[in-house]
């Protein structure tokens, strides 16, 4: 390579650096600035691939789109984890605050109204938001489709039932559960909002391990998965916006 080639390369590298410094959005969303301001209060952030956001490339069922957030490769203590779908009528999905014993991991299913970027913003103890991004394609309509739960005979009897199980993984315990609840989001034919909005994971003595605020973009009959560092007893407490409380033990 002669000097011109080298110069060219240097220019390219410099340009690349400059681009990276501007923090280009990996999913080029027009809504980023808005949510940065609204949900993160315009605080310091970095787009960070170590916040893994797993979604399917397309939503086969726009009412039940599985998303999975894993921020353990940050290797830092996580204080808060916010998830939202940028082009949804109800954008916010969850506000998760894991304690020391709970890994910065969360899996759940959401509704999407159209193809949308999905974000997970993870706040570490140093006050910096690490933002993971993904995009899911969709025919859409998941937020305004008629409830499947309410069309099932006898759903009222199953209301509030929790199915779950603990699974031993390599270096953690995964808790998976599903709660029978219609999670009405207020966008479907005259049915007002009726959804689980608060949850807490507690240890056997009732001490809080993690807390969770849920939004009605979470799918009906919500499925949730957490991971605990150690094989300790755990209980889950949930409350919906009508004051119904549910409890389950792993």
């Amino acid at each position: 390579m002669d000097w011109r080639g080298l110069l060219c390369l240097a220019l390219f590298a410099w340009g690349w650096e400059a681009r990276a410094a501007e923090q280009s959005d990996p999913v080029s969303s027009v809504m980023w600035d808005y949510y940065h301001q609204r949900l993160l209060d315009s605080a310091a952030f970095t787009f960070d691939k170590r916040v893994q956001v797993l979604v399917p490339p397309f939503a086969e069922d726009a009412r039940q789109v599985p998303i999975q957030i894993d921020a353990r490769s940050l290797g830092a203590r996580v204080k808060r984890l916010l998830v939202w779908a940028e082009l949804n009528p109800i954008a916010q999905v969850v506000d998760f605050q894991p304690g020391e014993q709970v890994l910065p991991f969360l899996a759940l299913r959401i509704r999407v109204e159209q193809a949308t970027p999905i974000r997970a913003a993870v706040l570490t103890e140093d006050g910096l938001w690490h933002v993971g991004s993904a995009r899911v394609d969709a025919a859409g309509g998941g937020c305004t489709a008629p409830s499947v739960v309410r069309a099932e005979a006898g759903w009222e009897e199953r209301f509030g039932q929790v199915l779950g199980r603990r699974f031993r993984l390599e270096d953690s315990d995964r808790l998976r559960l599903q709660v029978a609840h219609p999670m009405d989001n207020g966008l479907v034919g005259g049915i007002p909002e009726f959804f689980i909005e608060q949850a807490e994971l507690r240890d056997a003595s009732g001490q809080r391990l993690a807390s969770l605020e849920l939004f009605p973009s979470v799918s009906e009959n919500p499925t949730l998965s957490f991971e605990l560092r150690e094989a300790q007893g755990a209980e889950l407490w949930l409350r919906d916006n009508n004051g119904n409380e549910f409890q389950a033990a792993f």
């Binding site: 599985p66 998303i67 999975q68 998976r176 559960l177």
Partner: protein, 308 residues
């Protein structure tokens, strides 16, 4: 000057963009014809011509099997039939209600359209939404397409058309209501989407992979000479059955073992596709869909009541 040529070329290009299905019926047995589609996904390049349709020429007229993905396709199919026989269509039979098989019905509104009762019900329930999604997937090919429900109900058993006897099997493994048509004289089995060959099977509406496997056993026991799968190349041997069983077994095992170890959907859709399925078109895409359709059932079977 150059820009003028460019403009002309562009104009010519857009004039050629007239959407036409190239349907070339191929004779696969005496009086039995196949119109073979690609094993691709729905796309703007193929207009949804991704299925196999066929027709049988009888002394009374032509029996058509599936009308295709759009009005335009149904019309093209009729024209293609007219190129190889002067007999008119007398009956359209639908193997099942999925959009690639049943949205060309408008072109056959002057003849009886026959299907299983379940097919009629499912098309009535889902037809509009499926047609809408097809507009999104293939675009202008769909212009003018509307759902037309079957006008006759078929049941399992024998159907005689002139000198021809067809054996009809009412099954359900793929879509909830699947009709397989066996032509006794030629030994051709039109399996509908109970058989996919070299193309990953699709699972929306399957009552369960175990039901599908039972249906396969019933089909394979027929004295067929030739198999027309709903998607993929036809064969004279049992290759599609072997591949289907292998693939269904794998799919079942992926989700069963996944549920047992507490896997998430997003982990399962990234499962490596075994080397032996490398020739099967769209297996990753269909795995993602199948996990969405079926994994909740597998999850349910391993979770227990834990509420207090």
């Amino acid at each position: 000057m150059r820009w003028m040529i460019l403009c002309l070329a562009l104009l010519a290009g857009s004039a050629q963009a007239e959407l036409t299905y190239q349907l070339e019926p191929r004779q696969i047995a005496e009086d039995v014809w196949l119109v073979e589609g690609s094993t691709d996904n729905f796309g703007r390049d193929n207009g949804g011509f991704i299925l196999n349709t066929g027709f049988i020429v009888t002394e009374y007229g032509v029996l058509v099997i599936d009308s295709g993905p759009s009005k335009r396709f149904g019309e093209a199919l009729r024209a293609a039939i007219a190129r190889v026989t002067d007999k008119p269509p007398i009956l359209l039979i639908l193997t099942h209600h999925h959009p690639d098989h049943a949205l060309g019905n408008q072109a056959f509104s002057d003849v009886p359209i026959a299907a299983l009762e379940g097919t009629r019900r499912l098309l009535a329930e889902q037809g509009e939404a499926m047609a809408e999604n097809m507009y999104r997937l293939v675009g202008d090919w769909m212009r003018g397409t509307e759902v037309r429900l079957p006008t006759q109900t078929l049941e399992a058993g024998e159907l005689d058309i002139g000198e021809r006897r067809l054996r009809l099997l009412a099954l359900s493994g793929h879509s909830g209501a699947d009709l397989a048509i066996f032509d006794e004289r030629s030994g051709v089995l039109f399996a509908g989407d109970l058989l996919f060959h070299q193309r990953a099977l699709t699972t929306p509406g399957t009552p369960g992979l175990d039901v599908w496997l039972e249906d396969l056993a019933r089909l394979q026991a027929l004295p067929w000479q030739q198999i027309v799968p709903g998607h993929g190349p036809i064969t004279r041997d049992a290759a599609p059955f072997v591949q289907m069983r292998d693939y269904l077994g794998w799919l079942d095992q992926v989700m069963r073992s996944g549920a047992e170890r507490g896997a998430e959907m997003n982990e399962l859709i990234r499962t490596p596709i075994p080397e032996r399925f490398a020739t099967i078109s769209l297996s990753r895409y269909e795995l993602i869909r199948s996990v969405s359709h079926l994994y909740p059932r597998y999850e349910h079977s391993v979770l227990q009541r834990i509420d207090q």
